[in-house]
Assembly symmetry: D2
Homo-oligomer: 98 residues x 4
């Protein structure tokens, strides 16, 4: 089952600056070979369900390992069975109607 998620990881208990933790997660997504794109409030990630959620788990493990005692993440998860659609397809289908 293919999935497109949007992942927003919030490390808590480490002060207001969290970019080091987010950068570590981007590296995990990169190493996992998943299509991913950072934006100002999260990261789009695409792939097989198990691969994507294994990477999300590794992100939590790594952010804890780097020193964050608490994490609160928000994930949007999209699946569909009617047809294949990439994140880039989703953006294009909106943009051509604006």
């Amino acid at each position: 089952m293919q999935v497109i998620i949007d992942l927003c990881i919030i490390p808590m208990g480490v002060g207001v600056s969290v970019s080091t933790y987010i950068a570590a997660c981007e590296k995990i997504l990169q190493e996992a070979g998943l299509t991913h794109r950072l934006h100002a409030y999260g990261t789009n990630v695409e792939g097989e369900w198990d691969d994507v959620f294994a990477a999300v788990k590794r992100c939590h493990e790594e952010v804890h390992r780097l020193g964050a005692p608490r994490i609160s993440t928000n994930i949007r998860v999209g699946t569909r069975t009617d047809r294949e659609q990439t994140g880039a397809d989703k953006v294009r289908s909106v943009e051509k109607k604006i």
Copy 2:
């Protein structure tokens, strides 16, 4: 790694009434033996990370099987390494300060 999530599954392409799909997901959480509590905009679920996310995947599979061609889910995911804390603990720690 223990996790508390809040799961909000939105079946798309099946009309405005989605309670049948949500009830099917509640049964999956029940059968998985996970602590869970339904509220008006999602369900709190607690357990081991792999057990919880395996149940989330089964929910998506079942909602598709029941006829929804598209699903958009929102999940909040909380983990912490400083101490153990259940969902009931979280509610109590707020309520005693109100």
Copy 3:
């Protein structure tokens, strides 16, 4: 326009324990006269759109005033024009199908 939201406010830069801030927000919702119910990963809030979002803004202002330099909130927002439905109605419509 009536709205049901689920509000999850995450104060950042104040350590791992945030129940004081959440309790302050519960008081704001109470004083605003909005129907609200705390759960383990947020709070259901119901009312007129403008009243509900005015209260959300006051929560952000109050959490900052109490000392949190940064806040990341997640809100689910439900509106419908086909019929009136309270949060309690939503829960009942699922529970009777389980």
Copy 4:
């Protein structure tokens, strides 16, 4: 109070294809003069709190007017008092650490 939100509007009861509705919301954000950027699972929007949430309300009103009887939206809301930071700043602060 400046705010950066990420807005994900899900029209329900209108079938699986929702790009027409999302495009209508993009136009509302554009006409509101708000900095905004579409991605594959939402739209980053920046501005003054009241302007941003007035636009979110107009999006709900317009999506209903276009025929969707039910909407379930997810919004991430970020405010901070320690310093000014745009969405582009947030992306750069992560990218330079990858």
